[in-house]
C-alpha cells in the first residue's frame, strides 16, 4: 500500500481536519466523530445514492477571479456553501471543502426522509427480528418524528416471501436501498435479485424461475439495514438483545472468516460475519454460518469411554497411556483443525511417546472464487509450523497406513480426526493394539477406539490458528463445553503429565507462553496481543485466493 496518499483539508462542523485523498465524505465525517446516518451506502458496494438519509450541507472553496481559492484569515480556504443539501456517500473529499453535519437544513432533511421511510412501513417492531439492530429504529430515535401525520392507507406488498432456502422477505418493511441487489450482483456474482413494479409500489423480487440460493445469500440479511430480509433459520428464534456476542473465527476453511457468535445460555442462535478487511471483508458463506448446528447434534460425545464404557477422566487418561505404552511402536494422526496450542502440545506428546511418524489429514475442495479457498482445514499453516506435518500435509499417511497393515505400528494416537477418512478400513483399525482418540463427535474411529476422550468444538474454546495467508487469528469461547467434554489442551496436558512431561500448564495462557518461548515466530506474543482482527504472523502466502 502506498504511503504517499496526500492529505486534504476538510472543515467538519467548523473544525479543520485532514483526511487522505480519495476518502468518501461520509467516511471522513465518521472518522471525525460525526456519524452520518445512511441506509443504502455500503463501503464495499457501488453507490446508488438512493436513500437520501446522508444528506448534508456542503461547501466548496470560494474561487477568486484567478480560479484560485480565496484564503480566509485562518489560512484555510473560504467556503461557499451550497444552498441545496448534498449526499455525502457519493462525494470524494476535495481540498478546502466544508461540511455541516448537523445544521438546521440537515436536521430538516433527515426528519423528512425518516418520515417518508416510515409512512408505508408496517411498524411491526414488536414481532420483527431486526428490532434491536434496525437502522430505522435507531435513526427514528435520533432523527424521527414522535407523531405520524399519515392518514392514508399503506401500500400492501408481499410478506413471508421465501426468496430462497435461507432468506425470507417482508417487502413492506423494505426501504428499497438496493444493498441486497448490489451485493448479489457485485460480490456474489449471482444477479438474481431486482426491483419489480415502480414508484411507490416498487418491490424487491427474485425472478420466479430463480431463487436466492447462492452460498452467500445470508449476507443480504446482514447488510439489510431493516427487517425486510431475515434469516429463515434465525427468524422468530430469539430477540437480538438477549444474545451474547462473542468475537471469534470460523473454522470451516483455511480463510478463517471473522465472526460473531450470538448465543444465550450456552446455546448458539446465529453466526454473523465480522468486518475484517484483511480476511473476509464483511462477508461469509452461508454454509459456514450454519455449521454451528453440528455443535449440539445427536452424535456429540460427552463422556470419556474405555472400550465403549463410560469412565472417569482420570481413569480414561491412565488407561490411554498404559495401553499406548503396551502397544509398542506408535504413530500419531493429528488434525489441521486443532489450534496452535493444541498442536504444540501434540508435538510434545509425540516426543514423550517416542512417536516419529505423524501427520495431519488434508482436506481440499474446489475454491469458490469468492471467499472459500481450496484448503478446508483452518490451521494447516499451524500444523506445518509446529512440525506435525511436512510441506505437503498427508504425505506420511500412506506410509503410516502401510506400517499398520504390516504390523510395524501397533498403536495410534488420533487427535480429532476419523482415520477412515485417510484410507483406514475398519479391519485396519481392529488390528491396532491401542487406539486412543480425542473427538467431538462419534465416528468410525471412536467406535473402534479403545479409549475415547471427548474434546470441545471451536465455539467452546480459546486458542489461535494461522490462516492460509499466514495471519494469526484468535478463537474465543462462546459457550461452555457440553457434558463432560474437556478442552483439548487440557486432555493433551493430562496425557503429557501422565507421560512424564515437566511442562507446567494450568491455563491456555500457560500453553501459549510455552509456545511463544519455544517457537520463534510466536516470540513475544500472547493471546491478548493477537487482538480481534489477528496479526500477520507469516509472510503472506502466495496461495492467493481470490477474495471478494
Amino acid at each position: 500500500m502506498s504511503t504517499e496518499v496526500p492529505l486534504l483539508n476538510v472543515q467538519v462542523d467548523g473544525v479543520w481536519m485532514q483526511f487522505p485523498k480519495g476518502t468518501k465524505l461520509i467516511d471522513a465525517c465518521n472518522k471525525a466523530g460525526k456519524f452520518i446516518p445512511h441506509y443504502c451506502y455500503h463501503p464495499k458496494l457501488s453507490i446508488p445514492g438512493n436513500c437520501r438519509m446522508c444528506l448534508i450541507e456542503m461547501g466548496m472553496p470560494k474561487m477568486g477571479p484567478d480560479r484560485k481559492p480565496i484564503m480566509a484569515a485562518d489560512g484555510h480556504a473560504e467556503i461557499a456553501w451550497i444552498p441545496r443539501a448534498q449526499i455525502s456517500c457519493a462525494q470524494d473529499i476535495v481540498e478546502g471543502m466544508g461540511v455541516r453535519t448537523d445544521s438546521p437544513m440537515v436536521q430538516e432533511c433527515r426528519k423528512g426522509v425518516m418520515e417518508f421511510l416510515l409512512i408505508n412501513h408496517p411498524l411491526d417492531c414488536p414481532i420483527c427480528d431486526q428490532a434491536g439492530e434496525c437502522r430505522l429504529q435507531e435513526f427514528s430515535v435520533e432523527y424521527g418524528n414522535a407523531e405520524s401525520r399519515f392518514l392514508e392507507r399503506k401500500v400492501k406488498k408481499p410478506k413471508n416471501v421465501e426468496l430462497g432456502p435461507r432468506v425470507t422477505l417482508d417487502a413492506e418493511r423494505c426501504v428499497l436501498c438496493s444493498r441486497c441487489i448490489r451485493f448479489m450482483k457485485e460480490v456474489a456474482h449471482d444477479d438474481v435479485l431486482g426491483f419489480v413494479d415502480r414508484g411507490g409500489f416498487s418491490t424487491i423480487a427474485c425472478h420466479p424461475d430463480k431463487t436466492l440460493e447462492s452460498n452467500y445469500s445470508l449476507n443480504t440479511v446482514d447488510i439489510c439495514p431493516v427487517g425486510a430480509l431475515t434469516s429463515t433459520d434465525f427468524r422468530f428464534k430469539m430477540r437480538v438483545w438477549f444474545l451474547k456476542e462473542t468475537k471469534t473465527i470460523d473454522v470451516s476453511d483455511g480463510l478463517g472468516c471473522n465472526i460473531l457468535i450470538g448465543s444465550r445460555e450456552d446455546k448458539i442462535f446465529r453466526i454473523t460475519p465480522r468486518e475484517n478487511n484483511d480476511v473476509n471483508q464483511f462477508w461469509m458463506p452461508d454454509s459456514h454460518r450454519l455449521a454451528y448446528k453440528a455443535i449440539h447434534s445427536e452424535n456429540r460425545l460427552t463422556q470419556p469411554t474405555v472400550d465403549s464404557k463410560p469412565v472417569e477422566w482420570s481413569e480414561a487418561i491412565a488407561v490411554a497411556l498404559s495401553s499406548l505404552k503396551a502397544a509398542g511402536s506408535l504413530a500419531m494422526v493429528a488434525s489441521a483443525r486443532l489450534t496452535n496450542e493444541e498442536l504444540y502440545l501434540a508435538r510434545h506428546l509425540a516426543k514423550a511417546l517416542n512417536i516419529t511418524l505423524h501427520d495431519v489429514i488434508p482436506r481440499k475442495g474446489q475454491p469458490d472464487g469468492i471467499l472459500i479457498p481450496e484448503d478446508r482445514n483452518p490451521n494447516t499453516a499451524g500444523a506445518k509450523l509446529l512440525g506435525l506435518t511436512g510441506e505437503t500435509p498427508g504425505t506420511a499417511l500412506p506410509e503410516l497406513l502401510d506400517a499398520v497393515r504390516k504390523g510395524t505400528i501397533q498403536g495410534i494416537v488420533c487427535l480429532g480426526e476419523d482415520l477412515t477418512e485417510c484410507g483406514f478400513s475398519l479391519e485396519d483399525l481392529a488390528k491396532l493394539k491401542a487406539l486412543v482418540t480425542t473427538s467431538t463427535h462419534s465416528n468410525a474411529t471412536t467406535k473402534a477406539a479403545h479409549v475415547v476422550l471427548p474434546g470441545t468444538v471451536w465455539a467452546e474454546k480459546r486458542g489461535s490458528m494461522i490462516n492460509i495467508h499466514g495471519r494469526l487469528q484468535r478463537l474465543n469461547k462462546a459457550v461452555e463445553p457440553i457434558g463432560h467434554a474437556k478442552d483439548d489442551w487440557e486432555i493433551l496436558a493430562a496425557l503429557l503429565a501422565g507421560a512424564g512431561s515437566n511442562l507446567s500448564l494450568h491455563s491456555i495462557e500457560d500453553v501459549f507462553r510455552a509456545l511463544s518461548q519455544d517457537v520463534a515466530q510466536f516470540n513475544g506474543l500472547n493471546l491478548g496481543k493477537i487482538g480481534d482482527l489477528g496479526i500477520q504472523l507469516l509472510p503472506k502466502a502466495e496461495v492467493a485466493t481470490p477474495t471478494a
Binding site: 446508488p48 457519493a90 423528512g112 417518508f116 421511510l117 409512512i119 400492501k156 408481499p158 413494479d197
Partner: protein, 675 residues
Amino acid sequence: MTIPAALLAQIEEAISHYPVSKRSASLPLLHLWQEHFGFISDEAVSWIATKLELQPINVLELVTFYPMFRRQPAGKTHIRVCRTLSCSMAGSYELRDALAASANIDIKTWNEHMQGHAHGDNSHDHSPKKLTGHAVHNPGHGNPIAVSPDGKFSIEFVECLASCGSAPVAMVNDLFQENIKIADAATLWNTKTSQATRTLTTQPHPREHRLIFKNIDKPGRGNDLETYLSEGGYEALKKALSSKPEDLLEEVKKSGLRGRGGAGFPCGTKWSFIKRGGPKPTYLICNADESEPGTFKDRYIIHQDPHQLIEGMIISCFTVGANLAYLYIRGEFPEGALILEKALAEARAKGLLGKNILGSGFDLELYVHRGAGAYICGEETGLIESLEGKRPYPRIKPPYFPAVLGLYQCPTIVNNVETLCHVKHIVEMGGEAYAKIGRPNNTGTRILCVSGDVQKPGYYEVAVGSITLGELINEVCGGMKPGRSLKGVIPGGSSAKVLRAGEKFKIKDQEVSLEDLPMDFDSLAAAGSMAGSGGVIVMDDTRNMVEILNNINEFYAHESCGQCTPCREGAQWMKKITDRIVAGGGVESDPATLKNVADNIAGKTICAFGEACSWPTQSFLAKFKEEFSAKSLKATPPPMPPEYTRDELIANDVIPAVRAPRGNGHEIMAPAATR
C-alpha cells in the same frame, strides 16, 4: 413456443443496432415480442434474457417498470385514453366511462379493485366477494388494463399522450385519435385510420415566427425525403460538413441557443463540455421522450417533418464528434417511430447517413430507440440508463454527468428534439443572425403549446419573448371560452409553478401583471415559475384547483420511478392527500401537511423529478389557498373505505398465493414477480 423466422430476423436486426451492449436491445425486443404475441409472457422474459445473455430478473425488472408492456393479453382492440390534465379537462374521464359502457366493461367495479378497496358501504360486513370478469391482478401498478368479458375490447387509462392541444386524445391500438367527442366513443372501437399526421390549422397566426414549424400544417405535404429535398433540405448539412466542427460549435455558442427540453441550459456550453479526441467515443442522443404534460411540440416535428430533425442531429453529431447516435422516442409514438425509421432509411439510401457522409469522411450511424411509457426517461440520465437496457433510474450527479460519464460511461450529449432542429437553422443563417431573433439571452424562436380552456388551443412558434402571456391567450389563442374568465396558467409544462390571474410580478424593478408577462426564459423565472418545455395550460374560472392539483399529483405519483425515498414516498403521499380532499375528507391540517411534504421532496432527490412533482403542490397551495382550506374543514379524518384484508385478497385470487413451504397450513403471498 415457435418464433417465426421473420420475427427472429427483426430481433437480430434490432440487436445489431447496439454494437456496444446487447443489453440495450432489451426494450426493442420486448416491443417486437409484444407486437407479435400480444403480451409478454413469462416465457418471453426468459427467452429474451437468454438471447441477450442476461439474467431473467434483468428483463422482468423492465417489463414491470414500463406500463406499455403487458403481461396479460389485452382485448383485440385496445384503447389507451389519455388521463392527464389537459385531456381530463376536456373530458377524458367521461370518455373512458363511455368507452367502457359501449364495450360492456364494468369500469367502476374494476376501478375499486385497482384501489384494493372492498365493495359496498362502510358496514362491517365486507366479506370477500368473488371478482367477476377478468380484470385486476394486483392493486398497485400491476395490470392497468380492463378487458371486456368477451375479450374483444380493452381500455387503459394512460398518462400524457402529448397532444394536449387536441384533447381529449386516445390511441386505438397504435392509431392516434384526437379531439374525440364523447358521444362518438362507441365508434372509436372501429377506427381504421390514424390522425397522427393530420394538420391542425392551415395558416400560422400573424404573430408567429415559424422556423422549426415552417413545414408543419401544410396540407398535402408529405414527410418523405423527396419533399424535404425539394424544399432545400440537407443544404445546411452540406454547409456544415464543409466547415470545421470547432467553427460550428462557435456558431452555436454565438446563437445563444438554450435547450428546449425544460431546463433552458445553453446548448453551446453543454457541447463544449465534450473533450474531443479522448480515448472514449462520444455519443449523441436525441431526447424525443416528450412527456411533460402540456407539451406537444416534438410530436409534430417527428410526424410531419422528420428529416428536419435528422438533419439537425447529423450536424450536431458532426459538431461534437459523435459517430453513433440514438433517437430515443417515447413509446406512445409508435407511428412516429415508424416515420423516423422510414426517414432514416431514406437518408441512408441517399448517403446522408452511414459511412463517409456526402464524401466528407464523416461516419454516423443513427438508430431509433423506443421507450415504453415512462416520464422519467425524459430525464437525461434516466434516458441513458433506459437506453442501456436498465430500469431508467436517474444517476447521481456527481459523478455521472453525461458529458463525462454518459451512455456506456462515455461522453454523451443529450438534446431535445426542438433544440437539435434549431441547430440546423443556426448553421443555415449563422449564429449571429439567429441571435437577433428573440431577446438577449432568450434567443431564437420557441414553440408554445397551449392547451386547456382557450378558444383555439394549439402550437404557436414565436420569437422568444416577442409575446406576452396575455397576447398569447387573448390574441393568438382567441381568448377564453365565451363567458369565462382566466383563473390560472401553468406556463411551462405541468411541473412549472402555477400563476394566478390578477397576480403582479416584480421584473427588473417593474411591476408586471400576469397578462403582461413576456413568454421568455428569464421573465418566467423572475415570476417564480419557468418557461420549461413550453407547455402552457390555461384554466378558467370553472376549474376547481384542488381537482386540478389532484390530477397533476396522480401523474407524478404514477411516474415516480421509485428509486429514491423522498419522491417515491412523497409523490404518492401527496396524491393520496388530494384524493381524500377531493373525495370530501379533507382535514384542517391537510394544506400544511401537503406543503411540508412537498418541501421535503424538492431539492432532496437524485433528479429534478423531485422539484417537478413538488412545485405544483407548493404553488397551487400558495396561490389558491382559499380553495384548499374550504375543502379541508374536518377536525378528524373520516373513516377509511373498507379494505380487503390480505386473506381476502388471496381468497379472491386477486393475489396469487402459494402454500407456506414450512407447513403451517397457511397460504402466503407469492413473490411479487409472479403476480
